[in-house]
């Protein structure tokens, strides 16, 4: 079991990192031939950084839209973010002070995350428009995440898992030493689903994470008159025709 999980996590990490890197490289290499920021848009680079910050941290555009989606979506993502930070304690020794300080919040964040996810799932099932656009994978993602959150909370509140042992396993794995993992049902489920998520990340809609940073309607400076913007392929076409 420990060996299986060790290999699983090594593979999952590789797939996640390499898969994501390939996508990021693809996005970065693909030119944006025209200036298409959704206006009113910032006219300076600083303004763009702020716009992206608001978009990534507060989900500004979603906020302009449906408040319920925003609320559930934001709860889930913020919760997930804090929970991820909290989990850093499994990978660092000694645990950094800020990470120690957020430990208690991390637990509430776990609740927020699951509640947000359930809200999103309910919405996906009951709002006819959202149901119409959903593929089976869209439901499965929510279920995977709900079970990850749920199994995580179980370990905290129902069947306590030997977290020290888990920590040793992962710290060891980071040095490619395969230790032993406590065989608790919630933990096994939790870790399996997390590995699954990591494996599927680069092939799925979770690509919205790098996507937002590369979205031309959000990351472009609104200055087409001031500065000529031209893509390499467009330039080549121009030279050929002149």
């Amino acid at each position: 079991m420990s060996l299986f999980y060790a290999l699983l996590f090594i593979v999952a990490t590789l797939v996640l990192v390499i898969g994501l890197a390939r996508k990021i490289i693809q996005y970065a290499r693909t030119p944006a031939p025209l200036k298409i920021p959704t206006t009113p848009a910032p006219v300076t680079q600083t303004g763009v950084v702020l716009r992206l910050f608001r978009e990534v941290v507060f989900f500004e555009s979603l906020f302009k839209s449906t408040k319920w989606t925003w609320l559930f979506g934001w709860m889930f993502h913020l919760g997930l973010f804090l929970v991820l930070l909290r989990h850093l304690r499994y990978f660092t020794d000694p645990v950094w002070l800020p990470i120690q300080l957020i430990q208690p919040f991390g637990v509430y964040a776990g609740y927020a995350m699951v509640i947000g996810l359930i809200g999103l799932l309910v919405r996906r099932i009951f709002v006819d428009r959202v149901r119409y656009i959903s593929a089976p994978s869209d439901f499965l993602w929510l279920l995977i995440l709900i079970f990850i959150g749920f199994s995580g909370l179980m370990m905290k509140f129902v069947v306590h898992t030997d977290v020290v042992m888990v920590k040793q396993f992962f710290i060891g794995l980071m040095g490619l030493n395969i230790g032993t993992l406590p065989v608790d049902f919630p933990l096994i489920v939790h870790l399996f689903l997390v590995a699954l998520l990591m494996l599927l990340f680069p092939f799925s809609k979770l690509l919205h994470l790098p996507g937002i940073f590369f979205s031309p309607t959000r990351n472009q400076v609104d200055n087409p008159r001031e500065k000529r913007h031209i893509a390499p392929w467009a330039k080549a076409m121009e030279e050929q025709q002149n």
């Binding site: 979603l62 839209s65 428009r129 089976p136 919205h208 979205s215 309607t217």
Partner: protein, 511 residues
């Protein structure tokens, strides 16, 4: 033209988000382009035999050249935020007119052929084969999108369905399945100089006629020059401005403003069209061909500045793309942005006090303003973000006493498209045009009833033509839509004008 084989939606107090009703608009497709109109634009004349292969190859090509397309195809999480934002969905209930529903028509094919998940688990991720039916579906629904970008405002990743529609139309064109309206117009423009196919002599006639009218009206000889070498300003304006109401009243207004500003200006018969339908069909190459005419006209006439007339999509191509497509414009006067919008010009004149204005000339009206989609969400005027929303209102308020805005969810960056943009302004698409106008008509009706609004001003040739046609369907009058520069024209008192007040009241406002 009111042969209604469809029902005009009834106006309610609010536009409720409808329950979806599948397939309500599946029957509607625009006329297909004739072979020579396709080939004039360097597309195959008719649907090619190996369309399957060619379409996929084009999709692959486009996603390697347009970051927007690649990122947008990958990033959608199906959050549903955009689902109730499209006027065509609100007016038709067809889920394929929800922005994400529209995107998915292309995305399902992208997933099937270009992603791991779609290749091996198509059912799981909603990937589908590209079939002949898919093409027809694309043809139908990608011509029910006015590329207005309203959806992109509300998408957490800024996914702009307009980009997807443009790409889809480019794919269709590349396999010989082009749309008649757009392709015919671009052909006309490249051959004659403008979308309406007005040749140079007809243009000269029209402008001369305008000079006479204005002189009769005001006693002042305002010039409407054509092909004048060495003029300071080249005016590029939508060709509708040359003949149709209320467009032409706007053109009269531009001329009066230039006259009072004391600048010399000219129209070019060679580039007598501001619109660039190359954008609608997503073709960079054709958009560039069209844009280069303006560069050539500016060079041939030796002008120092370029100013664009009132037109929405045209202003997008001009403001956001012209420098890219046909720049650099280092041969023009560097003290002015290239190009400028006529409203930027007029607003500057007003601020400098160069125009003598009598607001009371417009006292017979209560105005509201329709933000044109592409002006509001794809361009700017002035130096500050949002100038494209403020400057038109500033100008209207400077020439009219009575102005009110429509509901805030229907103006500014949230404005609803008129329903006729993006290459849809053709009679064969009348049904979607009428139904898509529902949100705007509702907002307008509300201010008419609650705040006694009599007229709606707009700064786009498409909006003006569309409303002229569509207002009657909703029980309003076609002449309730006016040009902003028509209002300016009414209020302006030309230097040396004989009588200021009494006469110009009833001058030009009739239909």
């Amino acid at each position: 033209m009111a042969k209604a084989d469809f029902e005009t939606p009834e106006l309610q107090e609010f536009v409720d988000v409808p329950e979806i009703a599948e397939g309500t608009m599946a029957h509607l497709s625009p006329f297909v382009a004739k072979a020579d109109h396709n080939s004039d634009l360097n597309f195959p004349g008719e649907l090619v035999d190996d369309w399957h292969e060619k379409a996929l190859a084009k999709l692959d090509d486009l996603r390697s050249r347009y970051r927007s397309l690649q990122v947008f195809l990958d990033s959608c999480v199906k959050c549903g935020s955009c689902t109730d934002k499209c006027h065509y969905f609100l007016g038709t209930k067809d889920p394929k007119n929800m922005p994400v529903g529209r995107q998915d028509l292309l995305r399902k094919v992208y997933r099937r052929y270009f992603t791991f998940a779609g290749k091996y688990f198509p059912k799981l991720v909603g990937a589908e084969d590209l079939t002949r039916e898919t093409l027809d579906e694309w043809y139908s629904y990608y011509h029910q999108c006015s590329q207005c970008r309203r959806c992109s405002v509300f998408c957490p990743y800024g996914i702009d369905t307009a980009e997807i529609s443009m790409a889809a139309r480019e794919i269709l064109d590349s396999i010989g399945y082009g749309q008649k309206y757009c392709n015919e117009i671009i052909t006309k423009l490249l051959k004659v100089g403008n979308n309406l196919g007005l040749p140079g002599p007809a243009l000269a006639d029209t402008l001369e006629g305008l000079e006479e009218d204005v002189e009769d009206d005001t006693g002042v000889a305002v010039k409407y020059p054509l092909d004048v070498k060495g003029a300071e300003i080249l005016l590029v304006t939508p060709s509708a401005d040359f003949f149709a109401e209320p467009h032409v009243d706007g053109l009269i207004g531009y001329g009066k403003v230039f006259h009072e500003a004391g600048v010399t200006w000219t129209i070019s018969s060679y580039a007598s069209e501001a619109a660039n339908f190359g954008m609608f069909i997503g073709s960079y190459e054709n958009m560039r061909r069209v844009a280069l005419r303006i560069r050539k006209a500016a060079l041939d006439l030796g002008v120092k500045r370029i100013v664009f007339g009132e037109c929405g999509h045209a202003w997008r191509v001009a403001y956001a793309f012209l420098n890219t497509l046909a720049g650099p414009f280092d041969f023009l006067d560097p003290n002015y942005p290239v190009p400028q919008h006529i409203l930027e010009f007029t607003w500057e004149q007003i601020q400098q006090g160069k125009l003598k204005l009598d607001k009371s000339a417009n006292d017979d009206k209560v105005l509201t303003f329709h933000d044109s989609c592409n002006v509001a969400r794809a361009t700017r005027m002035g130096n500050k973000p949002g100038g494209q929303l403020e400057i038109p209102r500033n100008v209207i308020k400077a020439v009219c006493n009575n102005f009110v805005d429509m509901h805030h969810d229907t103006i500014g960056e949230r404005t609803f498209c008129c329903g006729g943009g993006g290459g849809l302004l053709t009679d064969d698409l009348m049904e979607i045009r009428v139904k898509g106008a529902l949100p705007r008509m509702t907002a307008l009706k509300n201010v008419i009833e609650e705040q006694n609004v009599t007229h709606m001003a707009a700064v786009c040739a498409i909006c003006k033509s569309q409303f002229t046609k569509v207002l009657p369907y909703y029980g309003m009058e076609m002449d309730q839509i006016v040009s902003v520069h028509q209002l300016v024209s009414e209020a302006i008192i030309l230097t040396g004008q004989e009588s200021d007040e009494e006469e110009d009241d009833n001058g030009e406002e009739d239909e």
